[in-house]
Assembly symmetry: C3
Homo-oligomer: 452 residues x 3
């Protein structure tokens, strides 16, 4: 790595400049692939974590999808060979989940979470008159590692119904009908048919949009879908198959600077099965989520609204991308010998994704009200340890003589310093004791958060 020498020099000078693309924990919007897009909405898929960096070995079989649709639209029926955890970021939806001899519809709103098991045929309507629907999906494929296959029940121009994969004979026997009827009623016509047919279809498509994955639906149709639709429980998050809301439970951390909501596998059987936690964090403008780390969960975080910045502390060598095969042995040795820490930081805008591996300390500050949603894998028995603040501060628990031995200051100095921060979990990103000064110099917050 020719880059190493000047980089180390910069380290010595206490300066770290990492371009976003060199920060392996950050996934900007250019790391996203559009699977489908039309005037009614889109579906996007984040790059494979393990293709980005070998750090994410344990995320090989996790993918992140974002679904976005306009008011009064429907995402047509399909099934995928992956388990999904859906989290509604904004808007109002009706999700219908089919079973062989039954169906369930659910009203979903911001903060609702539901598991959609692999192979389930489902469709999703945006039932709102005005607001776009945004849904985040964590997908865990069941066939191939990290790869999702979709099977559509309907045909379109570029995509075929999976029914069309069967031969005429099988379809005739299966439906006990003539192939022409089956084709006419269930299967989109062949691409290479006569032109006048194509023209006919084109006209019809104006009305029914049957050739698209996301189509418009009328108010009446929405109403029919809404019948018997259940909403997430107001009281409980322990439902086996119904949606539950992140806001149903009290925040696990809360003060005037922010709120932290979390549902762990221990609380919900849908999450337990996949060993996933889901959380939502609100950080008020000018506030800081205090430095902390997760003991065993790796958390994939999406910036939903607002702006801010994260700092993640890792080791020097983690910034090695796309070098999976070479020098494994050498790299391993280096990794184990070097304990040089490195700061990975980046500004956050809506749509950005960052990953916090287990054991890695992180802090997040908000330059405008920031709303984050996170999926944690390997979540069972995860414990969050704070490194500053009044409560849950693991440093406070160290025996006095060990403080003396471990830190340059005396135990007394350490204790005095630790008590300076009266807040827990969230605090002012611009500390009170220096508030006067900073109130004088306006724009200080922006210099804290944006100034590198």
């Amino acid at each position: 790595m020719a880059i190493k020498a000047p980089f180390q020099l910069l380290m010595l000078l206490g300066i770290v400049f990492l371009a976003d693309q060199e920060n392996p924990f950050l996934f900007k919007s250019n790391r996203v692939q559009t699977l489908f897009e039309n005037e009614n909405g889109h579906i996007r898929l984040l790059q494979r974590f393990d293709k980005r960096s070998k750090i994410f070995d344990n995320l090989q079989n996790y993918r992140l999808l974002e679904y976005n649709s306009k008011p009064h639209t429907l995402f047509l029926p399909q099934q995928n060979d992956a388990d999904f955890i859906l989290a509604v970021l904004s808007g109002k939806a009706i999700l219908t989940v089919l079973k062989p001899n039954d169906r369930n519809s659910f009203n979903l709103q911001r903060g609702d979470i539901i598991k959609l098991p692999a192979g389930t045929i489902a469709y999703l309507a945006n039932r709102d008159d005005k607001e776009d629907l945004r849904v985040l999906d964590l997908a865990i494929p069941v066939n191939r590692q990290g790869q999702i296959q979709s099977f559509l029940l309907f045909g379109s121009e570029n995509q075929q119904s999976f029914l069309s994969g069967f031969s005429k004979n099988i379809l005739q026997a299966a439906f006990n009908a003539d192939y022409e009827e089956i084709e006419r009623v269930l299967i989109e016509e062949h691409q290479k048919e006569l032109q006048h047919r194509r023209d006919l279809r084109d006209r019809r498509r104006q009305q029914s949009q049957e050739s698209n994955v996301i189509v418009k639906v009328s108010r009446e149709q929405i109403e029919e879908l809404s019948k018997n639709a259940k909403s997430s429980s107001k009281k409980s998050v322990s439902s086996e198959s119904e949606p539950f809301n992140l806001g149903n439970r009290e925040p696990i951390y809360s003060n005037k600077f922010g709120n932290f909501f979390e549902i762990t596998p221990e609380k919900n059987p849908q999450l337990k099965d996949l060993d996933i936690l889901v959380n939502a964090v609100e950080i008020k403008e000018g506030s800081l989520l205090l430095p902390h780390y997760n003991s065993r969960a790796t958390v994939i975080v999406i910036a939903v609204e607002g702006k801010g910045e994260f700092e993640l502390v890792g080791h020097r060598n983690e910034n090695q991308q796309e070098q999976r095969e070479e020098d494994e042995e050498e790299e391993e040795e280096g990794q184990e010998k070097s304990r040089q820490v490195q700061r990975y930081r980046a500004r956050l805008s809506p749509g950005d994704v960052f990953v916090i591996p287990a054991g890695h300390p992180v802090a997040v500050s908000a330059s405008s009200n920031l709303y984050l949603v996170g999926f944690g894998i390997n979540a069972e028995n995860n414990q969050r340890n704070f490194l500053a603040g009044e409560e849950d501060n693991v440093i406070s628990q160290i025996h006095r003589p060990v403080k003396e031995l471990a830190f340059p200051g005396s135990a007394q100095q350490v204790d005095r310093l630790l008590k300076n921060q009266k807040q827990s979990y969230f605090a002012n990103a611009q500390p009170q004791q220096r508030e006067e000064e900073s109130q004088r110099k306006r724009g200080h917050i922006s210099s804290i958060l944006g100034g590198f």
Copy 2:
């Protein structure tokens, strides 16, 4: 892939010709390796699934074995570093399973299933006077992924007892006896010993066949093995360690065209432990197992008796064999963007194996009474969704307005079409409404099933 261009042309013409070797879901008998064979029987091992196609990532640690022996023979004691699920296809056996201070013998017959845990010393006798014994084993190795090691308790010409691996000193101390006695009584003599010894042994071998893995046994010896042998319960399939029979429970699907028996992990602790389901399907001559898919299980199916054909619907790019390392990224992208479906079909003869990945629709027709046995991995909470027929037809569950939007026909037309098939699960492969016509044209069934 130079093959692509003409292939796509054929697709456009609506014609797909796939040689069997290009159908990655099919394993014909040339994909089998003989591990052992003599006049008394043989043991065969199917090619590794993941070596055939990268589709089968999740089958890396599953192997399929077939064991076949003549009447009144014994498969001598050995242990393997793999868990086995045994399924008796035909014949009558006595399986003896040894424990450190106990042993259990079981009478086995067609449809019996039993788990043989890794490292267990066992031996298997064909106790029938006339019929060959055929046993299918799904093996799940505990040491190396996808590789099975056998340890024989006895020595033979090409194979050594694992006792012979210890040094003379250790054996003398272990058995508290002279090495000569140990060698004479427990261990097969050295290959390079003097010729007259070899001659002696050759004569002795005529009587005892000690040099083979599968040896003849007398009626009296069979009788001794049968003592205290238990049979599979007539009532229950929930035994912890004893065999259970696929036919003990009512078929889960049944009509005059076929029967479908299945035992899922939820029903039996031996299967639960390994997350395996086992099923057996009888399709009557001229009948069709209706199109359906498994929501999360991948099922390995063996054609035991009869002839027929399967059609499996997948994506275009799944037909990529032996390209594991190259163009991962590119392939992934292609896979995710393309939703072109492709039909994979093949005729089935006894001994053929095919694999149905989760989410992939499949239909099977029988040109003569067809008997299939299947092992499903990732089986817990698997759900079978039918795409045609009266019951468990997931398409029927779609809301009317969504039918309207998803299919080219109107909701009314879709419903009418779906109701045409009065049967469920199994149906006539040659539909009744066209029966007259087809009865006129004799041989129509064979043209349905064999005509491509």
Copy 3:
């Protein structure tokens, strides 16, 4: 493999010479990497099992560490991204485990076992006045396969506190204090600061050793750490989070030649969670742990004290190191066809490690009192089958007619031979019936154990 031909010749001659480095089951001390060392102690890490040999596929995510420290020293606080099972080999320790709002201290002594979950901040003191502390750690990483990252709470010359990874602004806001104070009290000073500071620190370091991972502690400090420290229960091994002792339970095998202590996942929830067993074996001088194999566990064994020899029986081709990628297919085929057994043996000295894969028979003899500690992975439902001795001898369980068919001797001869060994589990490595003779020839034991 050019080596093959002469090697096979040696096999035919009944002679096997394997250099230690060609014995893939053995890890001598040169296979160890020193992670840290000073005058107070050291931490060492064994080579990755899977880098040594492809046999150890299933050990990819297991690492073995050894920690060694002088009396009255402290291993300073850190956390690791791996679960640890600690086994105390010798000495007396106080382990302190921190939680966000609590801490627990434990007195540990020889034979104590405790699980330290990933991400837990902990520190370990040697509380003894004279004896060195030796602790063995089995580590199971949670982020990257087979790789452990340590995060130190304190800074030193070559290593940085993970607090120092955050920016000044974040630290100021987090601790609500000036950066200068934070740096002075919690963070080791910069390497490139002015020389006179460095000199000051160097002087201070003489007193406090704050720059090292393992530092001296005074008797008074030890005393403060000991307050409220709990010891392992005398009665139970089923503690959820407290240490338990291998000697708390009766040995599972015991006679005058040796003792075998074992705690399986079924007995302890800390082990159950990770599917690990822990055992300790004492083999008296001149005694033999009889040939046996584990049905499903792979056991990593460390020679703690004494000298001896192990013999492990495997297949010929297992002696293939560092050929991971090439000839997979070919090798697989060979492996499955060949059942040629091979003896792998080596002398054992303190610090040596050997691995016993599932299903592989092993015997261990002691030339001086030998003390072994083992970690078994894949331990649930593991069963130990002995191949010689009175009890738990699986060969005794074979039906008479099968003995007749499987072994060269008659069933009567086999039974007579098996009854020769009156002992179980452990026996005299120099059998009694030949004792007179061997007492005449002095040095016979050493020729048994050391003579190859």
